[in-house]
Symmetry: C2
Subunit: 157 residues, 2 copies
DNA sequence: GTTATTGCAAAGGCTTTGCACACTT
DNA sequence: AAGTGTGCAAAGCCTTTGCAATAAC
C-alpha cells in the first residue's frame, strides 16, 4: 500500500529509531522492524489483528503472539501508544508526530483527532490541584459527533 | 456489611428508583434489586466479579450472566456508569450523586476522584470546535499520582 | 396467562504464557 | 557461544449468547 522502495522491503525506519531500539539492549529482528514499519505506515490506529493482516503478505509466518509481545515492547520503548477505544481490541499507534487525541463517536464509531493543546489546561489543573501527572497519550474521549447529533435519530449503538 | 434493616434485606432503594426501573416496562426481580443495592452500597467502582462476591451471601445462586445483563440494563437506564480503568475488567458505579471522574495511577493503581467541573472547559471546547458532545461519565484519566511521582523510583507496572 | 428474566453451560473474542527451536548479538 | 526472540499451541480472562425453566406482570 505504500512501498516506495521496490528493492528493499524493510527500511522505512530511521537509523535513530533502530538505534533507540537496540539501545535498550534488545534485539532487532525482522518481525519487530516490520511491525513498527507497519504501524508507522498505517498512520493511525491499528489493532493487533489489523497489523497481522497488513504484515501477512510480507511475512506470513509472523505469529499473533509475537505481535502482542512486540507491541508491548514498542510501547515500553515509547514508540507506540496503546488506547482502548471501547471496541473490544486495543488500538496501537505510532508515536512521533504531533501529540493528538481521539474523540470517539459512540453512535457511528467515527474517530476524530484533536489537538493536544486542548488538553493542556486540564493537564495543568490536574497537576496543580491533585499533583497528578496525566498521560494523555493514552486517551480517548467518548461521546457523539456532530453528524450524529444533527441526524439525532437512529440508535445504532 | 451494611444491613440496617435486620428484618428486610432488600429495601435500600427509594420508591422513586424502583418506579423508574419499572417505568421502562421491565420487571423488577430480587436479583436486579440486589445488584443495584450492592452497587449503591459499594459507593464506588465495582467489577462484575466484585459484585458477584458481594452478593453471594445473600443470593448464592445469582449467576454471572445475570449480573452482566443487569449491569447493562442499569447502565441503559442511566443508573450506573461503566468505565474502563485499564485493568482487564470494566468497572461499574452507581450514579446519582455529584458527577465525578477518575484519575488512575498506572503505577500504584490508586484511583482518585476529581470533580466534574474540571472537565467543563474541555467539554465546551469540544462542542464549540468540533461539534462533539462528550460523555464524560465514561471517563478515566491515566497517569501517575503525587505519591508515586515523589517516590519516583520503583517501576511496579 | 404472557412474556420477560433467570440459570446453566457453552462459546466467543482478545490476549497471554510455556516451551523448544532459531536467530541476533 | 550466550541468550533473547519466535512460532506453535494451549490456556486465560472477561463477557456474551442460546435455551428451557421460572418468575413477574
Amino acid at each position: 500500500m505504500s512501498a516506495n522502495h521496490p528493492t528493499d522491503t524493510t527500511t522505512t525506519l530511521s537509523q535513530a529509531e533502530l538505534a533507540a531500539l537496540r539501545a535498550r539492549g534488545h534485539r532487532l529482528t525482522p518481525q519487530r522492524i516490520l511491525i513498527l514499519e507497519t504501524l508507522k505506515a498505517g498512520g493511525g490506529h491499528m489493532t493487533a489483528d489489523q497489523i497481522h493482516a497488513q504484515v501477512a503478505p510480507r511475512l506470513p509466518a509472523l505469529n499473533a503472539a509475537t505481535i502482542y509481545r512486540t507491541l508491548q515492547w514498542l510501547n515500553g520503548a515509547g514508540l507506540v501508544s496503546v488506547t482502548d477505544v471501547g471496541e473490544g481490541s486495543l488500538v496501537y499507534e505510532y508515536f512521533g508526530h504531533t501529540p493528538h487525541h481521539h474523540l470517539i463517536c459512540q453512535r457511528c464509531h467515527r474517530v476524530l483527532e484533536i489537538d493536544h493543546a486542548l488538553l493542556t489546561p486540564l493537564t495543568h489543573d490536574l497537576a496543580d490541584r491533585y499533583g497528578f501527572s496525566a498521560r494523555f497519550d493514552h486517551m480517548a474521549i467518548f461521546g457523539e459527533c456532530r453528524e450524529c447529533r444533527q441526524s439525532n435519530g437512529g440508535e445504532e449503538a
